[in-house]
Symmetry: C2
Subunit: 397 residues, 2 copies
C-alpha cells in the first residue's frame, strides 16, 4: 500500500498552489529595454504619457479647415459661398484644404467634409453647416498627458508598443526573466543523441520544459540527467539554487527509488507532496533556502499537466504578473465520465468546434498529447460532464 | 460623396479573404532545424517514428517481474510463495524487483505490484494473482514504428518536441519563415525617436506590425516612412517585392492623397478595395508580380483589425498552416447594439469572466486598444447582441 500511505494527505491543486505561491516572492531585478526587445516582457513599473495625444488639434476627416460660424445656414438649396485659400486665415471667412491627421490651423475650429461642399473656382459652396469642434480631435482626446499607458505587471503586446512609440516612449522598464533551473532525473534516462540500450529511455522532458519556460516568460537552464542517488540529487539541487526557481522532473513519487522529496526535506520545507489530480498526482512543492522548487513527476503527460498547474503560475508570480492565458471555453461532443473526489485531466481533440475525449492508456503516453489539442478538467465533486456541457479547454500552447 | 463612390462594392471580409488567399501560394523554401530551434515553427513534411515506443516491454509500475502463471491462485489468506532474485530467471518460479520504466526481463510477462506481495527473507508471498501482460507496456504501446508524429503544416509545440526527442528524432524539416516587408506611408509621419512638430505624428504602426508578424510566424522587415507621392510608393513597392509579402500601412483609403491603390493597380491586380467592416473598411488586397500585397489603413485600430483579418491568415497561408488561434468564447456583460449590413468590431474589456464594450471615440484611438483585452464581432445580419449572449473574443495577443 505504498502509494496510499505516501500520499494520504492529497491536497486540492488550487489549495496546494495558493500555499506554495504564498511563500514565493517576485524577483526585484529590473532593466530598461528598447521597444524592439519589449514584446511579451512584463512591465516593472507603470508607464505614463509624457505628452498628450494628439498633441495638437487634429483633423479627423479630409475636408476644409473652417471657422464653424462661417458655415451656419448653408444648405443644398441655399449654399453659403466662402473663399478657398491655401493657408487658413484666422480672420475668418476662408476655407483651407486639410487632410485627416493634419493640424487644425490657428483660428479654425471645425473641418467641413469635402462631400459637404463644392469648389467653384477659388471659392467653395457650403451645402451643410458644421458645429464648432466637428470632425476635429481635440488635444489629448486619445491620451492625456500623464495618463497611464502601461500598468505594472502588464505583459506587453505589440499594440501597446505602438502606443508607447506614438507618444515618444522608446524604453520600458521590465522585470528580468526568471532564471529557471530544469533538472531531469532518473536511473533509466540517457542523454538526447545517444541510442538507448534495452531498459534505457531518452530524456525528453528537458526540451518540453525548456520551451514552455520560455513561452511563459522565463529563462530555462537545463542540466544533464542526474541519477536518483541522494548525493547526485543534492548536487543538482545546490546547482539549481543559484537560479530563481528549480524544477526537477522524475523522482517525485513515493516509490523505492524516489528519494528527491527526502533530499528536499533535509535542505528545506516541503509544502506539498501529492495532489488530487490524475494524471499528475505525485508532484512536490518546496521552498529551499528561499528558492521555490517544483518536483514534477517523470511521466511526460503528468509532467506537462503539473507544469501547467504549478510551474506556469510560479513563473508568473516571479514576474509579478498574471500567467499567460492558455484556456478557452468549448462544448463537449461526447460525455466524459469521471471519478468523484479527484480532479481528472482528460485529453481532448477539437473537431468542428467541439471537444472529444481521445483514447489513451496511461499517463506515460506522450503521443496522446500530440493527438490532442489540450485537456479539460473534471472537478473533484463531479461524476463527469454530459455531452453538450461547456468546459474550459487548456490548450497545449 | 467621395467615400461612397470609392467603396461602392464593399466586400464581406470573409469573401474578400477567400478571394485573396486563393491567389496566394505557400512558400517552398524548407530547412532542417534542431529541436531547440523548432518551437512554433511549421513542419514542412510529415515526420514518422523511426522506432517504436517503448522499444522494449516496459514495467508500468514498481514491483516484481514475474511469470504471471506463477502467481495464479495467490490470495491474502493463502499466499503463494516464490523466490526473490536479483536477476530474473526465464525458467520461472522466481520474482525480481523492477522499477517503473524498466525493461521486462526475458521470460517474464507481468509486473506484480509491491503492495500485492510481502518479502519474507529471500522469498515473497503473493497475495493477488496477475494476468499475463498486467502492468506491462508492450512494445509500441505509445508509438508504433512508422506512426505519424507530426503532420505537415503543424505548428510545433514543446510537447511535440519532447515526443520527437524521445524517439530519437533530433532535426525537423520546417518551412522558412515568410519574409514580410512592412512599409509605413504618410505625409504627416515622422520617424520614431524624432520629436514631432505641429502637424506631425510619430510613425507607430511599424513596431506593432513587426511584432505581430513575428508572433504569427513571419520575419518582418520594416522600411522607413514613405511620403504619399506615387514615385515614392512605387519605389517602396519595388523594394517590398523582393520579399514574400508586402504590407503597406496608410494610404489605402480613397481620399485625395490616397494614391497607393492606383500604384498597385498599375503594377498588378487589386482584388479587393474596401470591406464591410468598421473600423477597418479601407483595406486593399492585391497581387503584384505574383506577390501578395496588403494595404492596411493608417489609423492604428483599423490597421490592427485588418491585420488580424487579412495579414494573420496570409502568413499562415504562406506557411501552409492554420493561423495561430487568437479567439475564445466569452459571455457579454452588457448589450452591444450594431448597425445592420456591416460587420462591427467592438473593443471589449474582460472583467469577472464577462466582456464589456469600452467607450471609444474613433478608430484612431489607440489607447482604447490597451484598455481593452480584444474585440468581438457583431455580424452583418445582426442589430446587436444581448447581454448574456456568447461571442468570440479576439484577444490582442
Amino acid at each position: 500500500m505504498v502509494m496510499k500511505e505516501g500520499f494520504k494527505d492529497l491536497e486540492r491543486p488550487s489549495e496546494a498552489l495558493s500555499l506554495f505561491l504564498g511563500k514565493c516572492n517576485p524577483i526585484d531585478r529590473i532593466r530598461s529595454v528598447s521597444l524592439a526587445e519589449a514584446d511579451r516582457r512584463v512591465a516593472a513599473e507603470e508607464v505614463r504619457a509624457p505628452r498628450p495625444s494628439p498633441p495638437f488639434r487634429r483633423a479627423a476627416m479630409d475636408g476644409y479647415a473652417v471657422k464653424a460660424s462661417d458655415t451656419f445656414g448653408g444648405s443644398t438649396n441655399s449654399p453659403i459661398r466662402i473663399s478657398l485659400v491655401e493657408d487658413f486665415q484666422p480672420s475668418g471667412g476662408k476655407a483651407a484644404p486639410i487632410h485627416t491627421g493634419g493640424a487644425l490651423p490657428e483660428g479654425a475650429d471645425a473641418v467641413l467634409m469635402f462631400e459637404d461642399a463644392e469648389e467653384v473656382g477659388d471659392e467653395i459652396d457650403v451645402f451643410s453647416p458644421v458645429a464648432p469642434g466637428e470632425n476635429v480631435s481635440p488635444i489629448g482626446e486619445d491620451v492625456e498627458e500623464g495618463e497611464t499607458l502601461v500598468t505594472k505587471g502588464n505583459r506587453l503586446t505589440p499594440a501597446q508598443l505602438g502606443l508607447l512609440r506614438s507618444l515618444g516612449v522608446e524604453e520600458v522598464p521590465v522585470v528580468d526573466r526568471p532564471e529557471v533551473a530544469v533538472i531531469p532525473t532518473g536511473e533509466e534516462l540517457v542523454e538526447p543523441g545517444t541510442t538507448p540500450k534495452k531498459g534505457e529511455t531518452v530524456q525528453s522532458n528537458g526540451i518540453t520544459l525548456e520551451k514552455y519556460v520560455e513561452r511563459w516568460g522565463g529563462n530555462p537552464h537545463v542540466k544533464a540527467v542526474l541519477s536518483d542517488e541522494p548525493e547526485r540529487l543534492n548536487d543538482g539541487l545546490n546547482w539549481g539554487l543559484e537560479y530563481d526557481a528549480v524544477v526537477f522532473t522524475g523522482g517525485s513519487s513515493v516509490g523505492r527509488r524516489d528519494r528527491l522529496v527526502e533530499v528536499l526535506r533535509e535542505q528545506g520545507e516541503v509544502l506539498v507532496h501529492g495532489v488530487s489530480i490524475q494524471p499528475g498526482k505525485p508532484v512536490a512543492l518546496a521552498i529551499v533556502q528561499g528558492t521555490p522548487v517544483v518536483a514534477l513527476p517523470g511521466y511526460p503527460v503528468a509532467t506537462l499537466v503539473d507544469a501547467y498547474f504549478f510551474l506556469r503560475p510560479l513563473i508568473a508570480e516571479l514576474l509579478g504578473s498574471e500567467a499567460p492565458e492558455v484556456k478557452g471555453r468549448v462544448e463537449l461532443g461526447r460525455k466524459i465520465p469521471s471519478k468523484l473526489g479527484r480532479l481528472s485531466v482528460v485529453r481532448v481533440a477539437v473537431e468542428g468546434g467541439k471537444a472529444y475525449p481521445i483514447r489513451v492508456s496511461g499517463s506515460g503516453v506522450l503521443s496522446s498529447v500530440t493527438r490532442s489539442d489540450g485537456f479539460v478538467l473534471i472537478p473533484e465533486d463531479s461524476e463527469g460532464i454530459a455531452e453538450g456541457g461547456e468546459v474550459d479547454l487548456y490548450y497545449w500552447r
